[in-house]
Subunit: 208 residues, 2 copies
DNA sequence: TGTGTAAGTAAGTGACTACTTGCATTCTGG
DNA sequence: CCAGAATGCAAGTAGTCACTTACTTACACA
């Protein structure tokens, strides 16, 4: 169904620019190069179309993975952060619109929240592994640390266009800078540092 | 002008719930207990009304201040963070709506960005002072650190309602937890610790 | 008492919106 | 070559939206 996917893509694009109320069937049809009627025949209603477009988007969202066992925290976490911030930046318009619709269309927002929830779990698991493997010298709550890194990345991706002076330069290194700060906060030293595999919980590794 | 302020307040409330397109003059008039016509006579157009309501809001936003010279970083920063997160939480609906309108109504969004810009400058200045006074043991970029703390707070305020499991518990201590993490990231030790007033740049204060 | 001002009532205008109906056209698979 | 499905076109429906016009009411102040 080529036509169907074209309409879904056009709907997502129009929604990203104009939100739900601004996504008129006329605009979506024009953007898809399709007669307005085709939309109603294919999807029944504007709401059904946008719901399907939303699900289609979130399902096709590929997130970077973090290794089960950390071997180079700074490199691994930086790569993950960069892929995450890129993901958010590419979708910043649609995310902002979706967040604005929480009160009026909670189903759509719920569907969109699955991505950050998965990302948070992935990151949390990695941070716990870091602690268990003795990489960290500070006691920390994984959920708080994860929320902090993801929050910084999220705010950067959402707000940099509007307030460029507030965020660190250059934008391409922002994710790395947040990552380094977080690693310091939980007491992980720079660079890959192979340790004894013995799981010494919270080994005090007072620098080298 | 009592009537005028009532209408402005009602407009802000309706906008927070329904966004620009959803804020019909009918709805605003009903919310204000006023005839629809009065709105047009007072403000000329729906757009002018909402613009004025927006400015009215941002002007009346009082932000907590940070001391010029830090004396108890954890306490001072925690208080600031808590006041900031409370400010954002009280306005989360209207902020989400405003963010969703950036593409279509950039003037309104620009006006809203003044608050976080001021907050960021304030925080940055404090972090620089921390470094200059020798509270920190790590080299760090103030802007990055500020963006990280504010980002975490912002994301918490915007997203906790939708994804409560992602953010640290209890919500009342979240701001404090982010603050502690940030202080660790820049190498500030716990508790108030009076130092020589001599401005030793980046004094290595390897614990007590 | 008279006058100006802010507010209300009633009715309507033109544009847009989601969605429908009826019919013609094109394309596809057997 | 032909049935059936997908698509397009023209027209229309009922509703909403921002905004206007014309007129009335209430009240402050001099």
């Amino acid at each position: 169904m080529n036509r169907r996917d074209e309409i879904l893509a056009a709907a997502a694009e129009v929604f990203a620019q104009h939100g739900f109320r601004g996504s008129t069937t006329r605009r979506i049809a024009d953007a898809a190069g399709v007669n307005e009627i085709t939309i109603f025949r294919q999807f029944g209603s504007k709401e059904a179309l946008l719901r399907e477009a939303m699900q289609h988007m979130t399902e096709s969202a590929g997130l970077a993975e973090l290794p089960e066992i950390p071997s180079d925290p700074e490199r691994e976490l930086t790569e993950w952060s960069e892929s995450f911030i890129q993901h958010l930046r590419l979708r910043s318009s649609i995310i902002r619109k979706t967040m604005g619709e929480i009160e009026e269309r909670p189903e759509m927002s719920e569907c969109a929240s699955s991505v950050p929830i998965r990302a948070s779990n992935e990151l949390c698991k990695y941070l716990v592994a870091l602690g268990r493997q003795g990489w960290t010298s500070e006691k920390f709550e994984p959920k708080t640390a994860a929320a902090m890194l993801m929050g910084a990345i999220f705010a950067d991706a959402m707000g940099r266009d509007m307030m460029p002076d507030v965020y660190p330069q250059p934008r391409a290194k922002a994710a790395h800078m947040y990552t380094v700060l977080l690693l310091r906060a939980i007491g992980v030293q720079n660079g890959p540092r192979r340790m004894t595999n013995k799981q010494t919980k919270r080994t005090k590794q007072l620098s080298a």
